[in-house]
Amino acid sequence: MASNHKHGDPLPETVLRVKSLESLLIEKGLVEAEALDALIDRYENKVGPKNGAKVVARAWVDAAYRERLLADASSAVAEFGFTGAQGEELIAVENTDKVHNVVVCTLCSCYPWPVLGLPPVWYKSAPYRARVVREPRKVLEEFGTQLPQSREVRVWDSTAETRYLVVPKRPVGTEGMDEEALAGLVNRDSMIGTREADSPAMVEGV
């Protein structure tokens, strides 16, 4: 079975080999354990999809910001202090009533770290990488996202150092909500393009 997405059950050799590799790299002065801890902390606790959600919510409420984001996403996102590795050249693509965007990296696992953090396992898996370029509508249906036939689907394959952020459609019934509350509706997958943003009712658990 072509899993390519299994986790949690690595071979004991894998765990041992990672330990041996870390010891060796430290002994050779190629990495420092404290730097590894700091990298893990950064991507486990500081940099994640909450960053992207703030960007999207701002674009929903501030027309001038939305324009800056669509014209030059790297600069617009840097206004929040979100910059750097795996997001040096960011492009924001906006979902509308006419167009739905979805992002993939068919060749490896490229993903916009500064705004979304590290990719989920399914994004890096063979099924997603193989299928979303060929049958995006079917893959989206499996995520619960039904698109009308009239809506154009654009699949963005991240083959270069360009990284794509989807700006999902603002859900209906959110007219009175402020930016912070709106950010709570912007789920990670909506910024990859496999889902829509949450509706206020979903978030309240109704």
């Binding site: 072509a2 894998t14 041996s20 002065g29 699949v155």
Partner: protein, 222 residues
Amino acid sequence: MDGVHDMGGMHGMGPVEPEENEPVFHADWEKRMFAMNNAISAVGVRNLDESRHARERMDPATYLGSSYYEIWLDGLVRILSEKGMISEEELSGTVEPKPVSTPRPALKAEDVDAVMNKGGNYLTEDGKPARFKVGDKVRAKNIHPMGHTRLPRYARGHVGEIVADYGPHIFPDASAAGKSDPQPLYSVKFASTEIWGPDGTEGDYIYIDLWDDYLEAVGDVA
């Protein structure tokens, strides 16, 4: 190289299986693997494309059955071994680790945020002149390089339209071989039906970032 990593359009991979409330890492070894692969970039012994090409050369059957951090483990050991930084004997503890010298020192914990906030730079000042402009129809070349390439197999031979010129960028095929050959990078739009024929969907598109050398004017002989 035409490897199993180049998955766009393949059949038989099964359903996409999203995990509810997925944690950033699933185990401690994944954390360490992620961090090592990033931290080691600081010492300057291998670049991004060499790193990717090392992962692509994993045994294909093993690649398909591995999680992504297992692929990173294989790739990092492979490239560091090829660069003479480590050996299997050192890893297994059968010989004493030999000292190595590197262009730059190891990453310090206090520099992690600054280094990661800065990131890399793949856009270059100069490069080969652009052969195409926005609006041009182009064909992705039918080429099969043995080395690293970022021209996906599913696009080769197909006609698309240049929709953006991102400026001169380091060319990955050259970069994986220790060179840079900067040249224009474009966003190229392909109709789903151009790539998948009647199995595609009329009115849907695939956008692929492609370098100048991957493209030819429509009508050119390859």
